[in-house]
Subunit: 273 residues, 2 copies
DNA sequence: TCATCTATTCCGCATATCGGAAACTTTCTC
DNA sequence: GAGAAAGTTTCCGATATGCGGAATAGATGA
């Protein structure tokens, strides 16, 4: 990801570029010169911007002022970004219930550009792997069940745009070609859920249902990640059924507008069973 | 929180100020004029900055371009900020184990300036309330068990600074006066854990142990939040003991430096029991 | 329909930002 | 441990960059 060449102008853009750079490789941290090199900036410039970012609490300088990494402040601030339309709050109890009932790990995914992002995750007792990884993790939209469920139920125009953009990105991740992808999407739209389309992660399986808005377009996906044995022909329909029911509940809470009054009701208390 | 008056100069600072403003009230979103008013900026300025932020994916403009809110991109980026020294990754399995064993909710707290921030949280079956709230939530350092455990084990100099700064902030939240706070801190240092210092949240109790570095200073705290009945004199020592053991494990994984080689070993796989 | 409030574009001025050069510090090498 | 190399930080003048007043376009409501 080269942010350097052409466009990087304003100090805001440069600052954000630095933040993004720090976000990759945040475990290790980055040194001033590395940042300068990576972004085609001069050390003084990077230094000044970093200074500002540190003052603002977005970046922390390691002792001895050697390495820079993202600050906890940024984390705390941005944590609130992961709750669009109260989606996360609404889904939290549902996810807890799901992981307790199903004894599997539940994911809440939303779209972000050409990716899907994991908004929340509720662990089950079985250790699993997933594309998404942890909360905040990203996957190419279309890879993985939750991701695919969202893609399949995007408005047609957007769906086409995403497919066009993402096909090249999917090479070598199990998506063979466009025909295959479109077949998958059609099937997901048909049956209303996405189920272990491919055995991309050995031994792992998953199911996902979309959370739809009034127009029938995906705003999110609820998905289950588990091991192959726990998603056999017998159990799959049961899981799908439960997921569907909960997704419908989310949908209802997401559109809490009285058609007449257009008043966004505060309904978080009315626990849906 | 007025960021306006004196210092706001650079576009970077203004941009970050806008992000922070959007972070509050992110459920509802903010309009351009509101932002301008709140930050003492002119509408054109805010518009231009917002445009940049939207282009950079940090902010999303609601349909009809009426309201702005933080973008999922920011969330995804900042999620990595919540893993300093791999602390979160290291603690994840431990927290899962703890919440499964104790059947209570476990919190992972770290310091951020004069606050403590909730880095992670693993839910138990009992619904609880806490100061920290969700992941990313903040509390004044010293209020709540996890928070207090960190404060108590800060280097003396920093501790004093925090106490001085935070005492006024604690008015009306159960901290009566400085003497009381210092007594509490001394006791926590003495026994090595913080336990429901005050019944601030009716019906709720908690215990926390610090995660210490080599110098014996707190880098984090593991805490349990539960209801009063579940933390009686009988159970408390048991819980403390388990917490201590796990905290020690975290500590060991946090300092994975071979004293001679100074090589940061990648040890995440070596599951500590 | 008109009035009011809000969002967006334009543009000249002033300022905040840039980066070269150099001092200073840390880290590496022998 | 001394010298070299790389990295970090300060300084400062030129200029590009972002600022905000004013005017336009769009939305909202009476």
């Amino acid at each position: 990801m080269t942010v350097d060449d052409a466009g990087a102008k304003s100090s805001l853009q440069r600052g954000l570029a630095i933040l993004r750079l720090l976000a990759d490789g945040n475990e290790t941290g980055a040194r001033l010169t590395d940042i300068a090199r990576a972004l085609n900036l001069t050390p003084p410039t990077v230094h000044r911007i970093l200074k500002t970012l540190v003052e603002e609490g977005m970046v922390e300088a390691d002792k001895g002022s050697k390495r820079y990494r993202l600050g906890i402040d940024l984390f705390a601030m941005a944590a609130r970004a992961g709750n669009p339309n109260n989606l996360r709050d609404i889904c939290r109890p549902i996810m807890l219930r799901l992981s307790a009932t199903l004894r599997d790990t539940i994911f809440l995914m939303v779209r972000s550009g050409f990716d899907a992002v994991c908004l929340d995750r509720s662990e089950g007792p079985f250790p699993i792997r997933s594309f998404t990884g942890d909360i905040g993790g990203r996957v190419t939209l279309g890879i993985g069940q939750g991701s695919l469920a969202i893609l399949a139920f995007l408005p047609e125009e957007e769906r086409e745009e995403v497919i066009r953009f993402n096909l090249p990105r999917m090479q070598g991740v199990g998506i063979l070609d466009e025909v295959y992808l479109r077949t998958e999407i059609a099937r997901v739209r048909d049956v209303g859920y996405a189920s272990r389309s491919t055995g991309l992660l050995p031994g792992m399986s998953g199911v996902a249902v979309p959370v739809l808005d009034r127009q029938g377009h995906a705003v999110a996906a609820l998905s289950v990640g588990t091991i192959n044995e726990r998603l056999n022909e017998e159990r799959l329909p049961v899981v799908v059924d439960i997921l569907r029911r909960e997704a419908a509940g989310v949908c209802r809470q997401l559109n809490p507008f009285d058609p007449v009054l257009r008043r966004p009701a505060a309904i978080l208390g009315s626990g849906a069973a």
